[in-house]
């Protein structure tokens, strides 16, 4: 009977990876690479660094699959976000301060040139202001506005309670509203 790998959930794939299944690892990587890349990019603002971080995270998982403990970790994505975030924070400690790229990436190619330029400038300002926030506030923003993460999941990743996370978000947004409204 042919196995439909696409139907296997993350927990099943991880159990197979722990038995040495490279195919299961491949399915997991293809399923989640882009999501974790986007998160890493928000932290480091550098494509190559974000790719390296995601690669390191997955290779660590392959090398030591026993790190995933289903009895301790409720959801793979929540746990793996923590792994990726820690690698991002390590990267930031070792490297130069985050450089906001001059050319902001745009996906909306249907914009008129003047609209595209205005949107790029707006994005550049936003990224610069986010980079200037205290680290915990920045982390809260990056996690809460990453796709698929609830506030509770973000709080779990940051190892704070929900109220603490909401407080961080509130302070971050207050600062950004003031600075971007000028």
């Amino acid at each position: 009977m042919a196995v439909d790998w696409a139907e296997k959930d993350d927990g099943d794939l991880l159990a197979l990876i722990q038995t040495g299944s490279h195919h299961a690892f491949g399915v997991l990587v293809r399923r989640h690479t882009e999501r974790f890349y986007r998160l890493a990019y928000r932290y480091v603002q550098n494509r190559e660094a974000a790719e390296d971080i995601v690669q390191d995270a997955f290779l660590k998982l392959w090398e030591e699959p026993a790190r995933w403990r289903p009895d301790r970790h409720s959801k793979f994505t929540t746990w793996f976000y923590t792994v990726v975030v820690n690698l991002c924070l390590d990267w930031r400690k070792k490297k130069r301060p985050v450089q906001i790229p001059e050319e902001m990436p745009l996906v909306d190619e249907g914009l008129r040139p003047e609209e595209a330029a205005a949107r790029a400038e707006e994005q550049r300002r936003l990224e610069a202001e986010i980079a200037a926030l205290p680290e915990r506030q920045r982390e809260a923003l990056n996690l809460c506005f990453a796709e698929g993460l609830s506030n509770q999941e973000a709080a779990d990743i940051m190892r704070v309670n929900l109220k603490a996370l909401q407080s961080l978000l509130m302070r971050a947004k207050t600062t950004l509203r003031e600075r971007l409204g000028e």
Binding site: R30, Y37, E51, Q123, E182
Partner: protein, 104 residues
């Protein structure tokens, strides 16, 4: 100074763009993993057996006998110089320490 509305800010935060990753990022990761051996976690019992296997302990009877022998040897040896008996029979700590001094 006007403050941006919360709605506008949230819209901007959700619209944050990222530079797209390399199209072959996932495949590169998968390929690299093929060259990396996995470290398999051992059950606790097996790990402990491996650790204790590094220590080659002799049988308990030999350890006991060896300890007794060492104890006897230490007990009968006298690492310090003997104190002369003709110091008025004194066996005080002072006499023991000041061996070189003449008795008054």
């Amino acid at each position: 100074m006007s403050e941006m509305s919360d709605e506008k800010l949230e819209q901007m935060l959700r619209a944050r763009r990222v530079a797209p990753p390399s199209t072959d990022l996932a495949e590169r990761i998968i390929l690299k993993a093929q060259a990396i051996p996995q470290v398999q976690a051992l059950p606790l019992g097996q790990s402990l057996r491996q650790i204790f296997g590094e220590f080659h302990l002799p049988k308990p009877a030999y350890v006991l006998a060896g300890t007794l022998i060492i104890g006897f040897v230490l007990g009968f040896s006298d690492p310090f110089d003997k104190v002369p008996i003709d110091r008025g029979g004194s066996t005080s700590a002072q006499a023991f320490l000041y061996v070189e001094e003449d008795t008054l």
